[in-house]
Amino acid sequence: MRRSNPWVATVFFIAIFLLYTPLFYLVLQTFLNNPQDLNSGFTLRWLLKLFHSPALWEPLMTSLEIGVLSASLAVTVGTLGALGLFEFTTLLPTALQSLIMLPILLPEVITGLSLLLFFLLLRVELGFATVVVAHASFSASFVYFIMLEQLKKLDPQMAEAAQDLGAKPHQIFWKVTLPNIVPGIMGGWLLAFTLSFDDFLISFFTSGAGLTTLPLKIYSLMRIGITPELNGLSFLMICISTFLVLLLVSKEQSRKWVLKG
């Protein structure tokens, strides 16, 4: 076993502390009678008030719709890309491989700005559709890498076995390849959805005047002043994101069990 270094542990706990204290404070404020006063007692008032603010419901629905559509689009593009390029990955020059990774590495401001300029160039009216496309375009590269990993785990002889047993190329895909990459597709979809649901910068650039997603709404409310409802809303977003991440992790975990079994 590796000897544990006390410094590593210390730094780790400081990092965790720095990461989670602000979040914890935000959640705490949601439940305080007077968010500015730690001794004011607990209440569910702000959370309940949130459910009576129709102004927040519309952005939430918009965010969910955009999330579902962009995740589906990203999964389609990313999966097809991975399927198409999988056999050539060893042949592709490294430069081209990193090009696919670029959207992950680029600062989001740049991605957002370039997408905005691109949409303007095409004279597309900014709004719901542009946000969906923009989100899908950057989550697709995440999906691509998830699917590539998934495909690497597949037994290459499986497709040959299917063909050998009489399957035509399209039957190999629908009856053998696809059912075996479903875990990756679901994981990729959840990740893409989370990315879209949490995204602020790219939505900010590509949403135009009329459309407001949840993160955009939080931002605009904050400019008026931080209200307790805002805390509640943030709490809700943390819950949704955490739930999705847990779903992802548990999927991964159950797959490992199946493989071990």
Partner: protein, 362 residues
């Protein structure tokens, strides 16, 4: 329905710099258990993949039952492969794995049921039909792969080292079952293996391959007792070799001159050149304690190692710079005085048991 390979070749790499399969010619009869035997990289798997349709030949022809199948894609060939690591479909149950080809052919529900169960019964795993692929052992996966390949009654079954992933005990058991299965279903089985014992036990006939060339095709008996190439002799069983030159020939025999003496060998019809290898199987050699009445094919040496193996004893005998392996069965134990390491002995063999072959050029 014989399977004929004529002038089948395959070259990898654009300029022919890669692996090359030299023209392969042989006919595999219906119902025959045929083994492709050779060390790894000899091209045996390439031949199997060419027959299966997973590779396109550079030249030559494959005909199955007089029908040219050289350019047909795998899904249009009426033959199935059992893959080395079985390649079962993990998203399907055992039953559905076996039913796969029948479902593709849109066979009716009741018939699928009957035929899948029949195939599972054939390999004795009927009770596993509802399991998932991760719930069965390697040996069972092997049987599922066999059932899956047999269920829609192909003309030929191709087996790619099917036993190599099993543990030794199971491997020996499966050999017997495979052989029985082949005779029972009456299909042509073509199996790739690098295990000479497996090939000897299973084959009706076999092809021995090396470096992309098919060296010899024949029954196990022919291959063992009348090899055409020193490599074949060395690959199947064990051999002792004496290098020498052709010294003379009489109507019945050749004589070979070597550093160990002059030996006579019965003529066997091979065209001989000057440089020759005399091949002697360890179990066909005898050890004598004293120079006996035998005058020819006799060499003197000393025992440098012996291993008692129950049914036989293996002796290592040193003669000048050469060592010989001799296997003696202990039938005459009582008559013979015990031999020890360091003892002086005479080696002898019958003239007709020696095999004389040309020394390969390489």
């Amino acid at each position: 329905m014989p399977l004929e390979l004529s002038g089948l070749t395959k070259t990898y790499g654009k300029d022919g710099s890669g692996f090359k399969l030299w023209p392969v010619d042989f006919t595999i009869e219906t119902g025959e258990f045929f083994c492709l035997l050779g060390p790894s990289g000899c091209g045996k798997t390439t031949v199997l993949r060419l027959i299966g349709g997973f590779e396109t030949p550079t030249g030559g022809k494959i005909t199955l039952n007089q029908k040219d199948i050289t350019r047909l894609p795998p899904h249009k060939r009426n033959l199935h492969t059992v893959f080395q690591r079985y390649a079962l479909f993990p998203h399907l149950s055992i039953f559905e794995n076996v039913a796969f080809s029948l479902r593709l052919k849109k066979v009716g529900r009741t018939e699928i049921n009957v035929r899948v169960l029949e195939a599972l019964r054939l390999v004795q795993i009927e009770d596993l039909k509802d399991r998932q692929t991760h719930q069965i052992s390697g040996g069972q996966a092997q049987r599922v792969a066999l059932a899956r390949a047999l269920v829609d009654r192909p003309e030929v079954l191709l087996l790619d080292e099917p036993l190599s992933a099993l543990d030794p005990e199971l491997r020996v058991k499966m050999r017997e079952e495979l052989k029985a299965l082949c005779k029972k279903v009456g299909l042509t089985f073509i199996m790739v293996t690098h295990d000479q014992e497996e090939a000897l036990q299973l084959s009706d006939r076999m092809a021995v391959m090396r470096e992309g060339q098919c060296l010899q095709v024949g029954t196990p008996k022919t291959i063992y007792e009348d090899p055409v190439d020193p490599f074949v002799a060395r690959f199947i069983g064990q051999v002792n070799e004496i290098n020498g030159e052709l010294f003379g020939d009489s109507p019945e025999t050749y004589s070979l001159q070597s550093p160990l003496g002059i030996f006579r060998v019965k003529k066997n019809g091979h065209a001989l050149t000057k440089r020759l290898n005399l091949i002697l199987r360890p179990e066909k050699m005898r050890l004598l304690r004293q120079r006996s009445q035998v005058q020819e094919n006799l060499i003197e040496g000393s025992i440098c190692d012996l291993t008692y193996l129950g049914s036989r004893t293996e002796y290592t005998v040193k003669v000048k710079d050469t060592t010989f392996k001799v296997f003696e069965q202990e039938l005459e134990r009582l008559k013979k005085r015990k031999l020890n390491v360091g003892d002086n002995v005479y080696l002898t063999w019958r003239t007709e048991d020696a095999i004389l072959l040309n020394t390969p050029h390489d």
